[in-house]
């Protein structure tokens, strides 16, 4: 993929087959550069792809992976669907709240972690599971979750 968002402008359109498929990867590029999906980021994408701003906003706000507000340096996505609940992910949410003072959709005051309660992340056989940024962690316990998070400063 080409064209990072520099100074609020997407320099070129990503290469991904047909041109209609460019919007999603362009938004990922913008989010990577900008940290989250701000109005400015969405408008920069609209300008770069030459499509209406309203269409970009309608699209970006439909998909959960595009952050609707600023996030911390690391995003902890803990699965809270059926199989993870059966294996104790609700307890993990409580422990995270006790340790970091954050509930789902909140960010620690020092900007280190944002917490997201996820629907299924496809690790039901090794539940409970979480994604920290792009890293998968499975078979979580109330102990190992904190040693894992220690790695993320």
């Amino acid at each position: 993929m080409k064209g990072p968002l520099e100074n609020g402008t997407l320099k070129s359109v990503p290469e991904c087959g047909e041109k209609e498929t460019a919007l999603m990867p362009a938004l990922y590029t913008a989010q990577k550069e900008h940290g989250w999906m701000s109005i400015e980021a969405m408008e920069a994408v609209a300008g770069a792809l030459d499509i209406p701003k309203a269409r970009v906003k309608g699209f970006a706000t439909f998909y959960d992976m595009f952050g609707k507000k600023p996030v911390g340096r690391h995003v902890v996505r803990l699965c809270t669907n059926v199989s993870c609940i059966l294996s104790g992910s609700e307890e993990l949410l409580l422990r995270l709240r006790d340790k970091f003072g954050i509930a789902p959709d909140e960010t620690t005051p020092d900007g280190r972690f944002s917490l997201v309660a996820m629907e299924c992340i496809g690790a039901c056989g090794t539940a409970p599971a979480m994604l920290v940024d792009n890293d998968f962690y499975e078979d979580l316990t109330t102990e190992n979750i904190f040693s894992i998070l220690e790695k993320y400063k």
Binding site: G17, P25, Y63
Partner: protein
Amino acid sequence: MNILLKHIEYPGSTELKGYCESGGYKALSKALDMKPADIVNEVRRSGLRGRGGAGFPTGMKWTIASMDPKKPKYIICNADEGEPGTFKDRPILEKNPHLLIEGMAVSAYAIQAEYGYIYLRGEYPQAKEIVEKAIKDAYSAGYLGDNILGKGFKFHLFVYFGAGAYICGEETAMIESLEGKRGQPRIKPPFPVNEGFLAKPTVINNVETFANIPHIVEIGADAYLKIGSPESPGPKLFSVSGSVNKPGVYELPMGTTLREIIYGHCGGIKNGKELKAVIPGGVSTPIMTADKIDCPMDFVSLPRYGSMLGSGGIIVFDETADLLKVCLRIMEFFDHESCGKCTPCREGVGWLVAVLRRMSTGSGNPGDIELLTEISKNILGKCFCALGDGAAMVVQGFLNNFRSEMEAGIGGQQ
């Protein structure tokens, strides 16, 4: 049996070299010497049914798409595995990416498609890296590109990374999403096989479905038909989670019973507890009681036991499970994932959640059970896609099979 999970016998098969050494890409080479129509015919004869959940006959889908004169044609791999309880496509994507690429290349040749997309869910960033590398390697080795294996067939393949919308697993919502739109389902007909991506004939198959294709081409339909049960041939990936000793993904012949899966392969219920209930095919399939586990896991048997095969995502509940809470959690999921297009689903599922939420604290109102039944009847069959239907049937499943536990949520009854 390891047709789909090749890496178990050949750990090196994740990489191109190891995959080729274990016999990989031979089916593609063989296919390119066959007539496209003969491959479609072979797949049709094999009885392969879609592994994503609906179980539509793959050969029929391909036949309709190949007969449509519009060009170009597209193929899309549904790798938006989001059905809670389902994690069967992940080992193919992460450990056997070339099996998927080979399956897609053969399929593309069969219906004469020049472009393909793998619509991969945003929650699988590791799979994205692995599949993208595998595609790059396949291009370098001549298994993808403008002149595949020097046999004059052109096929280009791209990964399209989704962004966290369960509804995009519905094929028309997936196409909308690929076209840079909100993932909201289209009315059918027209079906994607005639008017799909960019209004062109489009075949969408699940990861596991494509992974079956090389084997069918290699051994032929007659040999393939000997695997599994007569009405649902082939191997099936079952992803088992919840209260079992050995959760995981198991490749077994279609028609293996739930009992054999739970007590044989998965080593029984955790901590010596009793089995209480099973969800057989992901959370949008109705829950079953413990006495039904002699049911063969295939497309035709499960409806006779009041449920569906779905994705084969089995969730096992022991005697301690709070099923009212589970039902609420599943409805919260559907409420979160409803795309909002059709009123019965958008409003109805939200209403189901509100009723179940008060019941889960023991303060349900008299008449709430009847209300749940009424709401679910008013969702069923009244929406563009099956998301609302799934929610409605799941609530009905809990009410039919675990009524007294649900009734315990009505205030003043305990």
